[in-house]
């Protein structure tokens, strides 16, 4: 579902050959894996088809918080009378960011799937303005991760520290064992070529 695979598509990142640590041997260190995931955060975010369809843009990592933007677009408006973006765009933005915040803290290759997500709309978004969002994973156990996210407009109103909050999110993500359905280690990201190394990508091997 809202899964963020921990195995980025190297091709779309511009690399001709697999660069994933441990792709040849099984011996990438935890630190190497974490560095690899962080380095590929933009790819992990952006290669998602639904993210591309909504025009969501990755901004970068602020420490352990991935940050992204939902530009205002006419085709994602939910209320024709006001021009306000539909809540589904915020759900997609926050879901994706929350999943990514889980992944970039990992020291091993796992995949994630959203278990549940709650979003509170603190105020209506303003038409024509971009929406910014970030997320943080504040607790990670062996099998689940707890995350929160927020979305806002930039503002120069005094007393707001530059952020006019639009929505907050709270969610729980499952951390799945990649051996159940490995993502692609290299190549195009399709199911066919996935799991070439530690294998076992099965179409029916669904998450959660």
């Amino acid at each position: 579902m809202a899964g963020v695979m921990t195995t980025p598509d190297d091709t779309s990142a511009g690399a001709a050959t697999p660069t994933k640590p441990g792709a040849d041997k099984s011996a990438a260190t935890p630190g190497e894996i974490n560095a690899f995931l962080r380095k590929n955060a933009a790819t992990l975010f952006t290669r998602v088809p639904f993210v591309q369809a909504l025009g969501l843009e990755f901004i970068g990592l602020d420490g352990d918080r991935p940050k992204a933007r939902a530009p205002w677009r006419e085709d994602v408006v939910g209320d024709p009378d006001t021009g306000i973006i539909h809540g589904g765009v915020l759900t997609a933005l926050l879901d994706n960011l929350c999943g990514l915040s889980v992944v970039i803290g990992l020291n091993e290759f796992r995949s994630t799937a959203t278990i549940d997500l709650r979003i509170d709309y603190l105020r209506s978004a303003t038409p024509q303005l971009d929406i910014l969002a970030d997320a943080e994973c504040y607790r990670r156990t062996r099998n689940v991760a707890f995350v929160r996210g927020r979305a806002w407009h930039e503002t120069d109103e005094p007393g707001t520290d530059g952020m006019k909050m639009i929505a907050t999110a709270t969610g729980v993500f499952a951390l799945n064992n990649p051996s159940r359905w490995s993502g692609p280690l290299s190549g195009s990201g399709g199911a066919k070529d996935g799991g070439a190394k530690d294998g076992k990508l099965k179409d029916g091997g669904a998450a959660s």
């Binding site: 899964g3 209506s124 669904a206």
Partner: protein, 141 residues
Amino acid sequence: MTRNAALAEFIERMPFARKIGFTCAFHGDEMTATMPYAGALVGNASLPALHGGALGSLLELTAMAQVYLHTQSPKMPRTINVTIDYLRSAGPSDVFARASLRKLGRRIVSVHAEAWQGERDRLVATLRASMMIAQPLPDEG
């Protein structure tokens, strides 16, 4: 206006609903919404599985449509919050959804929605939402 005509207008007026291919109509006494499978809705290309945001969008739109029908107001209901439970990975096929109003206050509605694919009993996701009922415009009655 018939219920299906009202729903058609709801979709027609909302760019986001058209973008994700959302449709809804009454079959018998229940409204069923459909989000046809499209590559753009995918979240995990390896499985492949639909994006949680796409399922959330379908559920929220279904809930909004149900509230919209009830209020008979030209204004869209406003979502206060949503809680989405993702029960299974949703594969590359059409998704269906229904919503029911659980509590009708004067201004706030509690609405539940659920989504499934091939089998009605195998839900892929459910939603609970609180929504603010749009007040009729003063000059429209």
